[in-house]
Amino acid sequence: MTTEVTPTSVAPKRNFNFLFALTLVGLLLLLCIVLSIATPSFATGNNISNLLRQGSMIAILAIGQTFVIITAGIDLSVGAVVGFSTVVVAGLLQAGVPIPIAILITLAVGLAIGCFHAFGIVKMGLPPFIITLATLTSLRGIGLLITNGSTINITNEAFTLFSRESFLGVPNLFWMVVIVAIPAFVFLHLSKWGRYLYAVGSNPEAARLSGVSVPKMIFIAYGLSSMFAAFVGVMLAARLGVGNATQGDGWELQAIASTVIGGTSLFGAIGSVHGPLIGAFILATIANGANLLNVNSFWQRIITGVLIIVIVFFDQLRRRNR
């Protein structure tokens, strides 16, 4: 028997993942090209800036969500955490807390919420769906209670100005995506922690037998997801100039949809950082394009649904044929 390695006909997944991301980028580009032709205002610098701003928040949520979904979990609370965080940061700023400290406290609150989720899952044995749904419900209540159903007006100009400005011609909000995505990429794809996340999602028993602390990875995944959501809350508060507990309603579904469009499997262990990013911007581009083309709002919903099917379908085709 020969001991050399015979090359097999099975294509290595690594390359394939890369190609897969390319397809999605291709679909996004195609969308952009069609829109550039259909409407003159699409390909203007101003609109691209708007587009980048519009997609950035869901994109960051989607990245956090991806960590959780890779562990075969789900985080329904992110929208509520966004809303709650706008209240926290707005309240702190109005109380005169300096911006950096207000932001840090808000992120810490987010982290704490995520740790609570992980605690519920790991220690109390609750399904992720339930514990995050419960937080979703409760957090909105707490936020509404704090604000008494109204909005907290942020009078700190420096804070709100940030969301409007650009750096090197790119909106600050999009830079936030870059700032989050790069470490997220390193974490998920280049560090051993990322590998452990996949292992936990793929086969928690195998991960445990390999000495991976499954609870720790669950804490990391949910902690990051909620912290990213808190970060988005800060961005949203800056963009809207208010804190309001009902904001971010339904964003969890948008984030999960971006994640799944980006090729993440809800059964865990499959997913990337770039996929959800592209997924989020595909959704943002569809909305932007529909607005620019002044599509009737009702038709806009129908078209969004159809496009989601079409895009994911072509992706599936591509994946199957490799």
């Binding site: 020969t2 390193v186 793929s202 028993e205 195998a206 000495g211 262990a269």
Partner: protein, 505 residues
């Protein structure tokens, strides 16, 4: 009963590397392992044998920190240890190749080999280094596997080899193999044995679990026997024989394992004409009523793919399937089942079982069409049929309502078989039917084969265990690289001839 003499071997005075004192494990009311005391000597190969569900895997899981003991002590190198977590076991240099592959399908082979022990530089994974290192390890062990492929793309046998490579890397002092050859063919097994001997030479203590007696006699220095959770004896391999071990295991003697009757061959049931599909090419063979057609070959030779195509699971790309004289379009599994073909697939976890469902449901899944009264399932018949198979195959379970996942490996395999015996068919395709099944039950299953044949059925028996196909098959076909390379009638050639054909030397 305990192995009496402290014993004859030369390093008798040496301190045992690992000692169990009244070790025990309960699952609720089930006592999987009754208090057992046993000492493993430094550098020995210690085999453990026993019936399905006797507690072998349980013992192994206790030693590797997978599950926690409910009583007793473990002494490692003279000091009492907890072995409460897998980490602790790994830290001592204890590792195992478990009976069911416990690896991550979504990660590459290299990532699995190094999982938990990654090479990191500046916080970044050294993927290329690890792939290279993993490839070298695999090559050194003589395993013909690429390190950069996803684990999920490998067959179970290949996955088992990856698990072996992984364990050898961590079990620097003590490695346990739980039925490592179940899915391996002779040549891969030979490589594994070479590896085990090499490890022994390096001073590693080996525990080897198998249902194949000849492997035990080929490898082991000593052997311990478990029966119903009780350690019934330990023997020096030189002081014992096949019959004694089997008698210890099943508490009675077994005259004959391979049950073969002369059954007259009947009409041709199945004929494949130049059948091709994914993984196999141009395969022509026939199966008659009363005949066992054996398919032998190395891992990945294409036998399972062939079977899946015949069963309508995978589409053929060329050729014809002829069923009792008629060319049939095997559209899907249903078509095959309705024609009277049954397939007990090779991977019990992936294809054979609904693990988180009750045994009874698993056994009856193919027959629910037949046991309805009105619109509801006939519950009495459902119970009767499940209990029938549990009884016939000696499936060791408290109830037909227990989940399949709580069964020992061999008992799970019996469920896969029982499911199709329950259904009945004219042609049975058994793909590795006796993987992980104990000797007593094997004999039982072979006897059931004879019964099926007498009732006019035909059998395609795919096995990587040469003695099995060799002894049982009326016609033996050898697959290599997806082609039929040799066919012979019953016992025309020797084991060596057949092996040579399969390897292609």
């Amino acid at each position: 009963m305990r192995s009496g003499s402290p014993d004859a071997s030369s390093n008798a005075d040496a301190q045992p590397i690992l000692e169990l004192r009244e070790l025990e494990k309960r699952y609720g009311f089930i006592q999987a392992l009754k208090p057992a005391s046993l000492a493993f000597r430094r550098g020995e190969i210690h085999a453990i044998v026993g019936e399905n569900g006797a507690g072998k895997s349980t013992l192994i899981k206790l030693l590797t920190g997978v599950i926690r003991r409910t009583g007793g002590k473990i002494v490692w190198n003279g000091a009492e240890v907890e072995l409460a977590t897998p980490n602790e076991a790994i830290a001592h240099g204890i590792n195992a190749v478990h009976q069911e592959v416990v690896l991550c399908r979504h990660l590459s082979v290299a990532a699995n080999i190094f999982l938990g022990d990654e090479a990191v530089k500046f916080g970044l994974l050294q993927k290329r280094e690890m792939t290279r290192a993993a490839q070298k390890i695999l090559d050194d062990m003589g395993f013909n596997l690429p390190a950069d492929i996803l684990l999920g793309d490998l067959t179970i046998g290949q996955q088992q080899l990856v698990a072996t490579a992984r364990a050898s890397l961590r079990g620097t002092k003590f490695i346990i193999f739980d039925e490592p050859t179940a899915y391996l063919t002779r040549s891969e097994a030979a490589q594994l044995f070479a590896l085990i001997r090499r490890l022994k030479d390096e001073g590693v203590t080996i525990v080897y679990i198998s249902h194949r007696m000849e492997e035990v006699f080929e490898l082991a220095d000593r052997v311990s026997v478990l029966r119903d959770g009780t350690l019934v004896g330990t023997r020096n391999i030189s002081d014992t024989n096949d019959a004694e071990l089997v008698a210890l295991m099943i508490n009675r003697s077994l005259e004959q394992i391979y049950h073969k009757e002369a059954i007259p061959l009947g009409k041709v049931l199945l004929e494949t004409r130049n059948l091709s599909g994914k993984g196999f090419n141009n395969v022509s063979l026939t199966v008659r009523a009363g005949e066992i057609v054996g398919l032998y070959g190395l891992i990945g030779a294409g036998r399972s793919e062939f079977a899946l195509s015949v069963f309508g699971r995978n589409p053929k790309t060329a050729g014809d399937i002829v069923w009792q004289g008629n060319v049939v379009d095997m559209r899907n599994e249903r078509t095959a089942i309705d024609l009277g073909i049954a397939l007990a697939p090779e991977s019990r976890r992936d294809q054979g079982l609904n693990l988180n469902l009750p045994i009874g449901l698993n056994i009856n899944l193919p027959v629910y069409d037949q046991i309805n009264s009105g619109i509801v399932v006939n519950a009495g018949e459902e119970k009767r049929r499940a209990d029938q198979q549990i009884k016939d195959l000696g499936i060791k379970t408290p109830s037909r309502n227990s989940l399949a996942s709580s069964m020992s490996g061999g008992n799970q395999q019996k469920i896969v078989i029982g499911k199709w015996l329950n259904h009945g068919a004219e042609l049975f395709i058994f793909d590795e039917p006796t993987v992980g099944v104990d000797v007593g039950t094997k004999a039982e299953i072979y006897r059931l084969f004879a019964k099926l044949l007498k009732n006019g059925a035909g059998i395609i028996l795919i096995s990587s265990y040469l003695p099995e196909v060799y002894e049982l098959a009326d016609t033996l076909h050898v697959f290599r690289d997806g082609h039929l390379v040799g066919s012979q009638a019953y016992r025309e050639k020797t084991h060596e001839d057949i092996l040579a054909e399969a390897i292609g030397v």
